[in-house]
Symmetry: C2
Subunit: 243 residues, 2 copies
DNA sequence: TGCCATACTTACGTCGCCGTAGGTTACGGA
DNA sequence: TCCGTAACCTACGGCGACGTAAGTATGGCA
C-alpha cells in the first residue's frame, strides 16, 4: 500500500527549485512517519516537477538501468502518482530519452570545447581532463552513458554511446595524421583507442577515487603521449587549470 | 499460441552434438511452416540439451541483455518448453551464471596464457592479440561480458566484467614498474587504461571489421608502446603467429 | 465570489513473464 | 515384451509493470 508521504527530501536537487512549500501544517515531513492524518500535498509548477522527475529518473536509471527502473518507483520517489510521469514524458522511454539527450549534450559540449586550438599534447590533456570533469560532476549521467541504451541497441552501429565521443576525436586526429604523413584512414581506430583508454580509466576511478583527478589526467596523457617505452616517472600537466 | 516446431536448425552449434535425429518423418523441419500435423518431437540427452540451451542463451543474452531475454524465448528457440530450462539450470539466473562463468574462464585463460615470459612489448602484443582473438571467436560472449551483469552490480566493485581482466595485467605491470623505479601503486591505473584501450577498440572493431586483426593489434601496440609522440607510420608485429 | 485551467489522484485493464504442479511420451535394458 | 526412468509437455497461479479513463483539489483571475 502506498502512503502519500509527499516530499521525500530531494525536491531541490535540480537547482532551480524555488520550493513552493506553502502551509506545511504537516507533521514535520519526518521520513518514515505513519500518516498522522495526511500530509499536505505538494504542488509544483509543471517545470519544477519536470526537472525533479528528470533528476530522479537520472539517478534511478544510473543505478538500476533502464529496464530495472519502474515508472512507479520514479513517481513514488517524487511523491506523486504515475500519471504525472506520463503527463510529462509520455512514458518511460520518453523520460529516458530526455535524460540521455541532456547528458550527451553536456558531455559533448565539455569535450568539444576542450578540443580547441593548441598543441596536440595540450589538446589531449584538456580532453582527458574534460572527461574526468564530467565523470566527477555528473557521475550518474556517466553511468547511464556507459551502459548500453535501448536506442543504441536498435540503431546498432555502436554498442556504447561513449563511442560517439570518439567521432569527435577522429577529426582532430585525422588532421594531425595528415600533417605527419600517416594514413588518415586509421584515425578512427586510434580515436577509439584513446577514448577507450580514458573512459575505462574513468570508470575505474569512479570506484577507487584514489589518485587526484589532476594526477589521473597527467598519467593518462603520459601513457598516451609517451607510450610505455618512454613513460615519465613524474608526469606534469602543461595547462593551467583552476579546478 | 506456441506451436511446437521442434528443432530450429541450430542443434549442433556446441560442437559435441552427435545429432540424435532418428526417424525424422517430419515435414522437412522447414522454418515458419504451419503445423503440418505435428512435427515429430526431438529428444536429446541431458548433456546435449544443456549445451544447446547454453548456446542459445548466450546468443540471446548477447543481443538482448539479461533482462531483455525471457526463459520462454530460450525454450522456444530450443524447441522445448519452459520447464526444461528450469530442470537444467533452476532458472534464468542459473543459466546466465553458467554462460558468464564459461566466458570469463575462456577469456581469462586466453589472456593469462598470453601473458607469459618475454619482452614487455611482446607481452603487450600477445595480450592484445589474445583479446582480439577472443572477440573474434566468441563475439557473443564478449558482448555479454561488456554489458554489466546483475552480479557485477550487486557486488559493486567493478562496473564491467571486463575490468576484471585488468587486475591480471596489474601484476605484470607492477613488476615492470618496480624494475624501472616507478611507483608500483600506479600499476592498476595504467592497467585499466591499457585494457580499456584494447577493449573499446575491440568493440569498435566488431562493427567495422575494417583493418585485419593483425593490423589492429599492431597499431594498438604501436600506440601503447610508442605513444602518440613516437608513433611509427607502419608498425609491425614482432611475434610470429600462425593465425 | 465564482469560474476554469492546471496539477494531481484513485482505480483499473492488460500484458508478459517467472516459476511450479502434475501428467505424458519414448528409450533402452532385463 | 514389459517396465522404469529420463526427457518433455500442458496448464496454471501470481506478480509486477505499463499505460489509461475518469474524477478531484487548488490557486489565480475576471
Amino acid at each position: 500500500m502506498i502512503v502519500p508521504v509527499a516530499i521525500d527530501g530531494r525536491a531541490g536537487t535540480a537547482g532551480s527549485t524555488s520550493a513552493t512549500a506553502r502551509k506545511s501544517k504537516a507533521s514535520q515531513g519526518a521520513p518514515g512517519a505513519p500518516p498522522a492524518r495526511r500530509t499536505r500535498r505538494v504542488r509544483m509548477t509543471g517545470k519544477e516537477r519536470r526537472e525533479q522527475l528528470l533528476d530522479i529518473g537520472r539517478t534511478l536509471f544510473a543505478e538500476r538501468g533502464f529496464e530495472g527502473t519502474s515508472v512507479e518507483e520514479i513517481a513514488h520517489k517524487a511523491g506523486v502518482s504515475k500519471p504525472v510521469v506520463y503527463e510529462h514524458f509520455g512514458g518511460k522511454e520518453g523520460l529516458y530519452a530526455v535524460v540521455v539527450d541532456r547528458e550527451m549534450r553536456m558531455l559533448l559540449d565539455l569535450v568539444t570545447s576542450a578540443l580547441t586550438g593548441g598543441h596536440p599534447r595540450e589538446l589531449l590533456e584538456q580532453a582527458a581532463f574534460a572527461l574526468l570533469d564530467y565523470i566527477e560532476q555528473s557521475t550518474d549521467g556517466f553511468r547511464i552513458l556507459v551502459r548500453d541504451s535501448p536506442v543504441a541497441q536498435s540503431t546498432g552501429t555502436f554498442a556504447s554511446l561513449i563511442s560517439d565521443i570518439a567521432t569527435q576525436v577522429e577529426d582532430i586526429l585525422g588532421l594531425e595524421f595528415k600533417q605527419r604523413g600517416f594514413e588518415p584512414k586509421l584515425a578512427p581506430m586510434y580515436a577509439q583507442a584513446l577514448v577507450g583508454m580514458v573512459a575505462l580509466t574513468g570508470q575505474w576511478w569512479l570506484d577507487v577515487r584514489k589518485p587526484k583527478k589532476a594526477d589521473v589526467a597527467a598519467h593518462l596523457v603520459n601513457l598516451a603521449w609517451n607510450g610505455l617505452s618512454g613513460l615519465e616517472p613524474k608526469p606534469r600537466l602543461i595547462g593551467h587549470r583552476k579546478a
